[in-house]
């Protein structure tokens, strides 16, 4: 899909903004005084941008209207291409390697860290926006800054988390008001749910989002991690083994078949009332809420952060939108100005609201956005980026951490123990062997 904004189309687009603007609630976004960086826009600048396709239709409409408004104010024409999620990594790679193509890409998670040599540093914009909007949240800082420095190479636009999704009636039936943070009590809850024939279920198959989300939670909540702060493989630890032993008991309570689950399976099982406790993004709740046939399930559904276990905070790493500007762009100032413009309240808040909670803000001030009052059950996603956990925790974000995630090292370590194919000791050694391969450089 592509969309070229021309001067002629601006009139229509502005009308859309006017119409769209009135549809969104007014948020009380507090700003601090900050000086905008001086970014003289290059003569005759035009921009091309890639970003992942929308979750919901208004996402795309508002995003385009925002870009149209930028065109209106600066005269810079902006073309936005919406790319399928599975393709954007490869398209970013091609753009970076060939030094041609889009000026700006909003990619996922680690992309700016892989192509750091090909990117324009965004310190001026990041500092201005950060100061103005109460500071960048921890996950945004982690994904935005080059490892161990204060240099911004990406501008996070939001993150999507996967907390626990559960049926209030089922938990109440077995004597719980909410899922507990304590691991032993959590296991007890799952055992009781299983006994009540309302089992929990978490993906242990090759599911990029849900599988890694569960496996990371399991290891992290026991104090384990794949690599240490220096990026040295550290999965072979007593904490990991303890976590896998815990999994053996936990897995016994799951609905059968979770080792074959993909990203969509838990959504289906939950909607079919075969699974009563799982972890997922907000999409599951909205799918249930918007379908009259499953509305009752949505009314009975609650969201809670993943159990903290042995940690002080809930270990969840949201999928992060991360914008980057390429050095090959002939218009770096215009690119930076566009990103800065899109993160300002008149643009960002309507976009956040249009996304209904699918994406959570990277900046402190937007916690006050009206989107988080739109539905109390969605409010929990507000803090997705207030997290100290990222894909590849606790190491530097790199090509290796991304590859280890995409190759399901953690998921398969867990699945091999759950299925009885390997002992916890064998499984961590195998994970260590595979991870060392990725982290050898």
């Amino acid at each position: 899909m592509s969309y070229i904004i021309t001067r002629r189309s601006i009139l229509g687009a502005s009308a859309a903004i006017a119409a769209g603007g009135s549809a969104f609630a007014q948020s009380a976004i507090q700003t601090q005084p900050a000086t905008a960086p001086n970014l003289p826009i290059e003569n005759g600048a035009t921009l091309r941008m890639l970003r992942p396709v929308r979750f919901v239709q208004p996402d795309e409409e508002v995003f385009r209207a925002n870009c149209a408004r930028f065109t209106q104010q600066t005269g810079v024409q902006v073309r936005v291409d919406f790319v399928g999620w599975e393709d954007i990594t490869q398209q970013t790679a091609v753009t970076a390697n060939t030094g041609a193509g889009p000026d700006v890409i909003i990619g996922f998670n680690e992309a700016p860290h892989i192509y750091v040599d090909k990117l324009v540093e965004l310190n001026d914009v990041a500092e201005y926006i950060g100061t103005k909007y109460g500071g960048w949240l921890p996950l945004a800082q982690k994904y935005g800054k080059r490892h161990g420095t204060n240099n911004w190479i990406g501008l996070p636009f939001g993150a999507s988390g996967g907390p626990l999704v559960w049926r209030k009636s089922a938990l109440n039936q077995v004597g719980f008001q909410a899922p507990p943070d304590d691991l032993a009590q959590y296991l007890d809850l799952c055992k009781k749910l299983k006994a009540a024939n309302k089992p929990p279920g978490f993906a242990l198959g090759n599911a990029v989002g849900d599988g890694n989300g569960f496996a990371n939670w399991l290891i992290w909540s026991h104090g384990g991690y794949l690599v240490d702060e220096e990026g040295k493989v550290a999965i072979n630890s007593p904490q990991s083994i303890e976590a896998l032993n815990y999994l053996k008991e936990l897995y016994a309570t799951f609905v059968p078949g979770t080792i074959a689950w993909g990203d969509i399976s838990n959504n289906r099982a939950y909607a079919a009332q075969e699974c009563w406790l799982t972890a997922n993004g907000v999409s599951l709740y909205f799918a249930l809420k918007n379908d009259p046939a499953t509305r009752a399930i949505a009314d009975d559904t609650e969201h809670t952060l993943l159990p903290k276990g042995k940690l002080d905070t809930s270990p969840m790493a949201g999928l992060t939108l991360n914008a980057m500007v390429f050095k090959h762009s002939r218009f770096p100032n215009a690119s930076k100005a566009l990103l800065s413009f899109l993160l300002e309240t008149p643009q960002y808040d309507p976009w956040l609201q249009a996304n209904l909670g699918y994406w959570a803000q990277p900046l402190e001030a937007y916690a006050a956005s009206a989107v988080w009052d739109s539905d109390p059950k969605v409010r929990i996603f507000k803090d997705t980026m207030r997290s100290n956990f990222w894909i590849g925790y606790k190491g530097p974000i790199s090509e290796a951490s991304a590859a280890a995630n995409a190759d399901y090292i953690m998921v398969q370590m867990c699945a091999s123990v759950a299925s009885g194919q390997a002992t916890p000791e064998q499984a961590v050694r195998e994970a260590e062997r595979r991870a060392r391969r990725f982290f050898r450089r």
Partner: protein, 317 residues
């Protein structure tokens, strides 16, 4: 004036004759006519294949140009149990599925070769699994094998035969067999229709002669049908082995190589490592390691099944 004009007229005639001579040159013609074909083959076949082989000896990743690392990728794979599991399953999947496809396909072809009412319609229906795009049939099987929503499980539970869902793809061996079953279902039509074509070329007079000699139905199959079918059998089997060994879509859509990598074929493992995992060099090495297996399978079908001299009009050894 007319003299000079005549001279000027002669010169182009000399040039034309040079062109004519050029086009009369056999060597030039051969090159000129072959060039487009060689160009197409070079650009779309040799170059990608060569690039793939080259990548297998580098540590290229998505996002970074690699350097030549010699056999490092292969050394790693040699000690990688996941790779060996993929080798095992690729061979197992290919052999079992090929036997299944040929047994059932030949049987179906023999049935279809009889005179049946609505013969053409039946033959068209038989082709359906082959016509449906693989991804669509793979998604259908994905639902059929779903741990929660399998139609087979549902029927068995509704009829009281079972009390729990069938485990199709949640553990290693059931998953392996389930994928083989799906592959056989998909491959039968190709084998059946190809063998049916072979059967129709066998002259009825051979059967008449055999019947006059008092041959039984089994003897007619063993000594007339089977030997006459062998040449086409060899071709069809070669194709079938290649298609099965390099299968990707069924496995990727149904299990993605799971549970815990137990159903990875070499093709799916190469893709997983190369594209989502980003390790292009290693993925290419896995793909390159398929070549010896394919060459062996092709040579086997050709020489084991198709070397009989009667094809050249001589008797068997």
């Amino acid at each position: 004036m007319s003299v000079t004009a005549a001279e000027r007229w002669i010169r182009p005639a000399k040039q034309q004759s040079a062109l004519v001579r050029l086009f009369d040159n056999k060597a030039f013609l051969i090159i000129a006519c072959l060039l487009p074909a060689i160009g197409l083959l070079g650009v779309f076949l040799t170059y990608p294949l060569g690039l793939g082989v080259w990548l297998a000896f580098t540590d290229t990743t998505i996002g970074r140009r690699g350097v030549f690392v010699g056999l490092e990728n292969f050394e790693f794979l040699f000690e990688d149990p996941i790779f060996w599991n993929a080798v095992f399953y690729s061979v197992f999947y290919t052999s079992v599925a090929t036997v299944g496809k040929f047994a059932l396909g030949l049987w179906l072809a023999l049935l279809l070769n009889n005179h049946l009412p609505m013969k053409s319609l039946l033959r068209a229906i038989i082709l359906l699994p082959w016509i449906v795009p693989t991804v669509l049939s793979a998604i259908a099987f994905w639902w059929i094998y779903d741990p929660q929503f399998s139609i087979i499980s549902w029927v068995l539970i509704e009829t009281g035969i079972r009390e729990t869902n069938v485990d199709f793809i949640n553990t290693a061996w059931p998953a392996r067999w389930s994928l083989i079953a799906a592959n056989i279902w998909r491959g039968i039509p190709f084998v059946a229709i190809s063998l049916l074509a072979g059967l129709q070329t066998i002259s009825p007079s051979l059967y008449e002669a055999a019947m006059l000699d008092g041959a039984s139905a089994w003897q007619r199959f063993r000594y007339v049908t089977f030997p006459m079918l062998l040449p086409i059998l060899a071709i069809v089997m070669t194709f079938s082995i290649i298609f099965t060994f390099t299968d990707f879509q069924l496995v990727y859509a149904i299990t993605r190589g799971g549970p815990v990598n137990s159903t990875h074929l070499l093709a799916t493992l190469a893709f997983q490592r190369g594209i989502p995992g980003g390790q292009l060099g290693e993925g290419a090495a896995i793909a390159v390691s398929m070549i010896p297996f394919l060459v062996f399978a092709t040579l086997f079908s050709y020489f084991a099944l198709a070397r009989r001299k009667w094809q050249q009009g001589e008797s068997n050894d």
